[in-house]
């Protein structure tokens, strides 16, 4: 139902089955959204840079303290601060989605052909890459400058980073769909990130935390992230799988909730 028949699908193979064709169209739209959002993200890199530089400085400063205080102090300070500052990056996701409401562009996207899931994936894909890069840079820095042992199997580490980034993205998306303003998001993500990652043992090793804290640590995604990351760095696949499963489950539930909210008239004051 358009005014002319311009060659809209010139890259699509002739005779492609309808289902394949629909998938290719969806991939094209997701690509368009991801490209657009990557451009916006690259034009405003300040927050991300600070989430990389701050933990680097802290790792360097805190390393002597950790090395004296606990066994494997270098691993603790590198992975702990990496987990903590990756949780802070939740605000990047939340702000990115919430801005669509502030700018009133979400409605413009919703009247396009892209479905809610496509919009969410296209929106968060560049942020996923940003988070993977952030965590990778911090771990490499940990190996080069802090004395984190070089992981025997980097693939495990990469998988752990991707799973953690996925869970963070989903949590960030969920937050964006329940808060009412950037200020509210800022409070929840900053206080939440500090609390959850500290409680999870990112700042102080669990072994020297009070008993109540050790018991409640399990409710924190930071705890599972740290367990997974430290197991992956050791090359312990069996040890990384249970926390990875927990994080995947958290990510799937949060992501499904966010997608449902976004599809059902988010920001319009009523379900659609």
């Amino acid at each position: 139902m358009l005014l002319d028949s311009a060659p809209r699908d010139s890259t699509r193979p002739a005779g492609a089955p309808a289902r394949t064709s629909r998938l290719l169209d969806a991939a094209y739209r997701i690509g368009a959204l991801a490209r657009h959002n990557a451009t916006l993200r690259l034009r405003d890199p300040g927050q991300m840079i600070s989430y990389i530089v701050m933990p680097m400085v802290l790792m360097l400063v805190l390393k002597p303290l950790y090395v004296r205080a606990v066994d494997g102090g270098a691993a603790q300070v590198a992975t702990g601060l990496m987990v903590m500052f990756s949780v802070f990056a939740i605000s990047l996701v939340g702000n990115s989605i919430l801005s669509e409401r502030t700018w009133r562009t979400w409605d413009r996207l919703k009247v396009s052909r892209a479905g809610a899931a496509e919009l969410l994936v296209g929106k968060t894909l560049p942020l996923f890459v940003v988070m993977v890069v952030q965590q990778t840079v911090l771990l490499v820095y940990g190996c080069l400058a802090i004395g984190l042992p070089v992981p025997p199997n980097p693939v495990y580490v990469l998988l752990a980073i991707m799973i953690w980034a996925f869970a963070l993205l989903a949590i960030g998306a969920l937050l964006a769909t329940v808060v009412r303003s950037h200020g509210e998001l800022s409070v929840i993500s900053d206080v939440g990130a500090l609390t959850l990652s500290s409680l999870g043992g990112a700042l102080v090793p669990l072994s020297i935390m009070p008993e109540w804290a050790q018991l409640t640590a399990h409710v924190s995604p930071g705890y599972w992230a740290l367990s997974m990351m430290q197991a992956a760095v050791r090359g312990d696949a069996a040890g990384a799988v249970p926390p990875a499963a927990v994080l995947l489950a958290i990510g799937l539930v949060a992501g499904a909730f966010a997608a449902r909210r976004l599809a059902r008239g988010w920001g319009r004051g009523g379900p659609m």
């Binding site: 139902m1 358009l2 005014l3 002319d4 311009a6 060659p7 809209r8 699908d9 010139s10 890259t11 169209d25 094209y28 739209r29 690509g31 368009a32 959204l33 657009h36 451009t39 916006l40 034009r43 405003d44 700018w103 009133r104 562009t105 409605d107 413009r108 996207l109 919703k110 009247v111 396009s112 052909r113 892209a114 008239g265 319009r268 004051g269 009523g270 659609m272």
Partner: protein
Amino acid sequence: MLVATDLVKRYGTIQALDGFSLNVAAGEIVGLVGHNGAGKSTFVEIVSYLIRPDGGHVTIDGRPPSATRGEVGVAPQHIALYPSATVREHLELYGRLAGLRRAALREAVEDLSTVLRLGGIMDRRAGKLSGGQQRRTQAASALVHRPALLLLDEPTAGADLETRQAMLDVVKQRAGEGAAVVYTTHYLPELTELQATIAVARGGRVIARGTGEELLKDLPGEVRVTLADREEVSVSTSEPTVTLIDLLRRIDRPISAVDVRNPSLDDLYRSLAVHDAP
């Protein structure tokens, strides 16, 4: 092209639409007028599939709005742009989301850059544009995929003359090519220039529809005669010429001025929609 019948929409205690019906044929421009709260924007949101009606139904080219997502061109009343994205990036994003690729996308972007006079600002970020330039960018984003149904919700609100003229030109062009257009506005002279069919909304429904001529037919004009001693005789009439002749026959004092004012769309607007004023 667009058939909306008996639409009902309620927000809590507010009845936004109350039996709103409107048909728009291919190639037709319907100017939807009415005070704020008359239901214009709610109607646009229902046709865009942003909200669902509580009652009534809509079809676009015989299909429900859920089946035509992405095929309708929508320019909302408020500015909805990414401040740090350029005009070109906006057009490319919405073009790609509509399925435009490579040469077709380039061609569509260049075409709109010309007709909406965006040439000099294509690589400028939306946050740095003037209000009129933002309006044109928003309209271009709605038009880039050449939709057969256009919903333009106050596209010239707060716009400068250049923007207004560019907007009217492109709407006339697209309607000439067969697009059905719903154009909501408070600037009634625009509808005269667009030669639009006018639909007047009040209290969540369309209460009158027709060409400007048809709607003005029964509306009184005004004949005003100013006498030499500055006294004024003013008569409201549906036949200004006959009334003027009659007045001139009856007045036996020197006359300094005569003013005959035919009813305008503004009079129509006031007479039909005045009760909705907030």
